[in-house]
């Protein structure tokens, strides 16, 4: 089991904990007693806030999708703070309302610059151009690395796909934890509502056309408690990954 619980909800956490203990004690016939103390748990990880552990700052070097077609180069905006107690509130309507309100630009083809700051509400947020070391982009690692809130976040994303030719009937395939929305060249392509796990090809778009040359992908991942990450690739008509693309952040 794993109750996705956030740190900034102490009241709720307390209720859950109390509930757990009282429920356990009465329902499961465990005699009341002290909650056992945890054994010592050694810290073996590098706990410093370091971006380069999971990411490489994006360079001008040519970047292609990985062997399975996943897009690993992204412009990632520092998280917009959101008070979200549970991911199950992330319905389609919630996504639409929130993402149009907490947006840095309603021009979905805009390409921000690495290091640029933008305003979302009264928050001043900075863009990072990053290459993920894994097939997916772990936003939890990202927010930890830049020492920003890890839970209750909305993260905006942009990347630029260079296609050698026009490609019809391709599909954008994404998985995200938790909810997300995706746009291709300004057009809404995908909505992934709910308390989701990041699963490759969890949701696919309708048939789309990649233009010859630059295509702008915009994304937004929103997460309350728990892990936040996403993976994204393009599939051809047969469901196979498209790999003859190049990815840039400009």
């Amino acid at each position: 089991m794993n109750r996705k619980r956030t740190l900034f909800l102490p009241a709720m956490a307390l209720i859950i904990l109390l509930g757990l203990q009282s429920g356990v004690n009465t329902a499961l016939a465990q005699p009341p007693g002290q909650r056992p103390s945890l054994p010592p748990i050694p810290i073996t990880s590098d706990t410093t806030h370091t971006l380069t552990r999971h990411f490489v700052p994006a360079s001008a070097a040519k970047k292609t999708p990985d062997a399975k077609g996943f897009i690993q180069r992204w412009l990632v905006l520092e998280p917009v703070k959101k008070d979200i107690a549970r991911n199950s509130i992330l319905t389609d309507s919630y996504l639409r309302t929130t993402l149009s309100a907490d947006n840095f630009s309603s021009d979905y083809t805009i390409i921000p610059k690495n290091g640029q700051t933008v305003k979302v509400g009264d928050q001043e947020l900075k863009w990072y151009a990053l290459d993920s070391k894994t097939f997916n982009v772990n936003l939890y690692h990202f927010t930890y690395a830049i020492d920003k809130p890890r839970y209750g976040i909305l993260v905006w994303l942009v990347t630029v796909i260079d296609s050698p030719e026009e490609m019809k009937n391709v599909r954008l395939a994404a998985g995200a934890n938790s909810a997300s929305m995706w746009w291709l060249n300004g057009q809404e392509a995908l909505t992934i509502p709910g308390d989701r796990d990041m699963v490759a090809d969890n949701v696919t778009s309708q048939r789309l056309t990649l233009k010859k040359g630059k295509n702008v992908i915009r994304g937004a991942v929103i997460n309350g408690p728990g892990m936040a990450n996403f993976c994204l690739r393009f599939l051809n008509e047969k469901g196979a990954p498209i790999k003859n693309l190049t990815i840039s952040y400009r």
Partner: protein, 483 residues
Amino acid sequence: MKQRIQIISTIVLLLMLLSATAIAQVGKPFIHDPSTLMESDGKYFTFGTGGGGLISTDGWTWYGGGVRPGGGAAPDVVKIGDRYLIAYGATGGGLGGGHNGRILTMWNKTLDPNSPDFKYSEAVVVASSDGVEDNDAIDPGLLLDPTDGRLWLSYGTYFGFIRLVELDPKTGKPIEGNKAINIAIDCEATDLIYRDGWYYLLGTHGTCCDGANSTYNIVVGRSRKVTGPYLDNMGRDMLKGGGKMVLDATDRLIGPGHFGRTVLENGVEKMSCHYEADLDQSGRSVLGIRPLLWKDGWPVAGDLFKEGTYEIESVRRGYALELAVDFVRMPGGMRFNRNSDEPIKPVASQQLADVINTWPAGNIPARIGDYMGRPHQKWTITDAPNDTTGYLGGPYYKIVIAGTERALAATADGEVVTVPKFTGASEQLWRIDQLIDGTYRIMPKLVPNSGKKLALVSIGDSSPTLAEFDFNSDNSKWNFKTH
């Protein structure tokens, strides 16, 4: 858990209601001993005992009109090259009082009597029984062996042995010097099929021609060699009466017999038979077409699709086809911390009325989501009203969200949506075929502005679309669940 008995009768009643729609074929599908279904000139044909036969333009509505000279009984047909070889018994199996029988074959370039090419060749005798020997030469079944192109004929009745002879696929005549081999007893209306390294001998056991009291049932044995021995699931030789059940009486369709196999494409197979009595059609003998399934290497009759309310499960991931609407929470949340002495009482499940007002009025996309047993995941599937068309073995279906007229529909860009109201348009009509592994294929009758034959496919775990059917991918498969 004891007080449920009083409602059992209601359950039974409902189940009967649900099953009352399992009909055989429509039109005037009256026939006995139908030959294996054949497609010719874009139509389906089957011939029966006594001459004549049925024709269908879509495979669902059948009328008389087939022409087969020679009379007698229980023909079979196989297509060899661009010609059709028809075999039939000149006698009727005891009809003439004895067991003196003859089997003849003849060719035709088409089965359509309206075609200028329609002309049967002179029939030639390929097997006979003298009335005394342990065999009655009627009920032929033909197999063109796909592994080596040889042509085999099985024939005979419960009167002695089922026999196997080899014919020349070029002439339809017996191979010179070929001797008949005994391969079974106790059956009649046999047919041979080949699949995946095995030869299967399908035969009909039981009593025919007694209306609703007929005990006809179709059994099978299999062998690595076409000449046998054909053993059943118990290892029993069909020469000693063995046979594993393929199809027997189901509800109001009684006495299936005279198996024929039709392979439509990889993973989609049908079987034809007659039922001695269809209680919904005056208890007359009718043509039956069912899905043919393969289970552990054995053929088993599939189920006719039953109208009802279902959850539609994607085999890819196991999620449910649903409306893309906001998830509406049920009251309450975690009920972890309950006092164990609290009285236990049922909680109402979510009802359509609780959520329908939150749904948009226009088209709503379809998607695939976690099974939640919720109203936006329940689909009522019924034979489409005011539509008489169909496909091999079934009518087109209307698929709507239960309790509404919101209908699943194909779009011109090859996707699926739900439209607020079922209009009967072709893109709202759905073909449902049970596949050989027991799962289902769901296809729109028409993809607007497209000549393509596309099926409902899971392109992502959560995303349905229309794409080419591929039996080798779980993306193309669906299940209907009543949980």
